[in-house]
């Protein structure tokens, strides 16, 4: 297995990009195959389930932002992805905490769409553990960026509340990432500024100028396009 790991990793990233591109199409109102059709059409089911797990809650951005209807088969695909790549039960490292929160976001998004009356799965910890101290806004904002999949309308929860309570630390993180040309972090944080705007929370930056700047300067990768498409939809919906 000298090359197997690398090929699998590259393919997974590629599969996630394809899936992210489909979500972007849906957010822009273009025709796209449903999730079930996409998974069925893919030769390597494990690979595509890995991609589903990576894109996570963002798969449901079109549903939460533009009123797409949930296909019952989508729920099954997500369940399969969780079965194929088991969730972190007792997160210890920072990376595990991030994964646990992203999984929680996926599960919560589904719950909001499939059965609004049902209780939340319960957050996988407190916000401070995964985000750190907002006084240390440099690391805090990087952690906020890692949790960009939680920046969707209607998800709520302790991390969203924590970010909503720190508009200055968020804005400092945005500014720092832009000045460092760390566009991957900038676009993720831009989603959060759009969510704050969506929820009418005052902030010291203009989220519209930020989104437009990133559209022009942050490149055109599938992941970036998805974060910016969600950002735009959040700003339009405000």
């Amino acid at each position: 297995m000298t090359t197997g790991g690398r090929v699998a990793e590259t393919s997974l990233a590629g599969a996630a990009d394809v899936l992210a591109g489909q979500v972007v199409d849906a957010l822009r109102g273009r025709e796209r195959p449903g999730l079930v059709a996409h998974v069925d059409a893919c030769g390597d089911r494990t690979l595509v389930l890995g991609a589903v797990r990576l894109v996570g809650s963002d798969l449901f951005a079109p549903h939460l932002l533009t009123g797409h209807l949930l296909d019952p088969g989508d729920v099954e695909v997500v369940s399969d992805s969780f079965a194929c790549f088991p969730v972190v039960r007792a997160p210890a490292s920072h990376e595990q905490h991030v994964t646990a929160w992203r999984d929680w976001a996926t599960a919560t998004a589904l719950l909001r769409l499939a059965d609004p009356g049902e209780a939340d799965p319960g957050p996988p910890g407190d916000a401070d553990t995964v985000l750190g101290d907002p006084v240390e806004w440099q690391t805090w904002s990087v952690h906020v960026a890692q949790l960009a999949p939680l920046a969707l309308p209607g998800l709520g929860g302790p991390v969203v509340d924590a970010v909503f309570g720190q508009p200055l630390a968020l804005a400092r993180g945005v500014t720092r990432s832009l000045l460092r040309r760390d566009h991957a972090t900038s676009v993720r944080l831009a989603r959060w500024t759009a969510l704050l705007h969506h929820d009418r929370i005052d902030q010291p930056l203009d989220p519209h100028l930020l989104a437009e700047h990133l559209r022009l300067y942050a490149g055109t990768s599938a992941r970036t396009a998805l974060d910016l498409a969600i950002t735009r939809r959040l700003l339009e919906a405000a």
Binding site: R172, V174, L178, L179, R180
Partner: protein
């Protein structure tokens, strides 16, 4: 007399809480004081020790390239004048500052050189800006003063960057020359005055904003002349800019941003930021301008790092002054 144990316990708890809070604040205060004092004292010593490397060539009658000797001499005079104005340095440092001021004044031939330059190029503003550092310390050149009064009366404001127009306005205020300008209009014409998105900044613009603050507040003497919206803007974003330019070792600009922190109505003096700048200062007091290797050649060392030394003296002096007197 009965004793109420609960009252005693509560009282002690309250006292301890305040003691803890105060001790944290005091520790941070002491750390910044320590770094600011060490930075300014050692950088002033370094400027003083090597001052002759910044002199005009013997017998020179022309200033030559203004950026080579003339401008740095003026900057050294500025730093010395602020050490004397603030008066928070120890007796040895105050004596060195006075000697540096006298040395630079003597290099300018007690103002004659500035006078002759103004006579030859009557619309230039740098003789006024340089003279202001000496005027701040009580020195005066009558014939130059008369030229400057005349120029102010004529009102031929040559076209310069908006922050440079503020430099002229502050130099006139310091020397008591001319009528009061429209400070608001001058301020709003600068990059800072427009409070743009804080990420719309680059290295050059960073220097522009620091100078807007320097001149508007007369190097920290008038912190409340900074309009409240600009003070709020700087309080919000200064930590980010310091962080970003610290990461790429732009020590000269970091030092200037620390001066800005010391010029705010509510000073921004973060011990961690001061610790980083203090940690790059060499044992002999040299403060490197950036992360590039420092030359061993004394003349090159002085030429390359005279400016950050001036910045360090001003930053440390103003921080110390704000910490001691508020």
């Amino acid at each position: 007399m009965t004793t109420d144990p609960h009252a005693t316990t509560n009282h002690r708890a309250t006292t301890d809480f305040h003691a803890t809070t105060d001790s944290h604040a005091t520790a941070a205060h002491h750390t910044t004081t320590h770094h600011a004092h060490r930075l300014a004292t050692a950088a002033l010593d370094w400027l003083h020790t090597h001052r002759h490397l910044g002199a005009f060539p013997p017998g020179a009658t022309e200033i030559g390239d203004p950026d080579r000797v003339y401008k740095p001499l003026g900057e050294t005079a500025l730093a010395a004048s602020l050490v004397l104005r603030e008066g928070v340095a120890g007796p040895a440092s105050l004596a060195r500052a006075r000697e540096l001021l006298d040395f630079t004044w003597s290099e300018f031939r007690a103002g004659d050189l500035l006078y002759e330059r103004q006579l030859r190029h009557w619309l230039l503003t740098d003789p006024l800006e340089t003279y202001a550092h000496f005027a701040r310390a009580g020195l005066r050149h009558d014939r130059l003063h008369a030229l400057l009064e005349h120029s102010a009366a004529v009102g031929s404001a040559t076209e310069v960057l908006p922050n440079r127009a503020l430099a002229v306005a502050n130099a006139r205020r310091t020397t008591g020359i001319g009528a009061a300008p429209d400070w608001t209009a001058l301020t709003r014409a600068t990059w800072l005055g427009g409070t743009p998105e804080p990420w719309a900044i680059d290295w050059t613009t960073g220097y522009s904003l620091t100078h807007t603050v320097f001149h508007l507040t007369d190097w920290g003497a008038r912190p409340h002349d900074l309009p409240p919206d600009l003070a709020d803007y700087l309080t919000a974003w200064l930590p980010v800019w310091i962080d970003v330019w610290t990461e790429v070792a732009q020590w000269d600009l970091v030092g200037e941003l620390l001066i800005v922190g010391a010029c705010l109505p509510e000073p921004h003096l973060d011990p961690a930021e001061w610790q980083v700048l203090a940690s790059v200062q060499h044992d002999d007091g040299l403060v490197p301008r950036d992360g590039d290797p420092v030359s061993d050649d004394p003349a090159t060392r002085f030429a390359d790092h005279q400016h950050p030394a001036v910045v360090a003296v001003i930053a440390g002096t103003l921080a110390l002054s704000r910490l001691l007197t508020g």
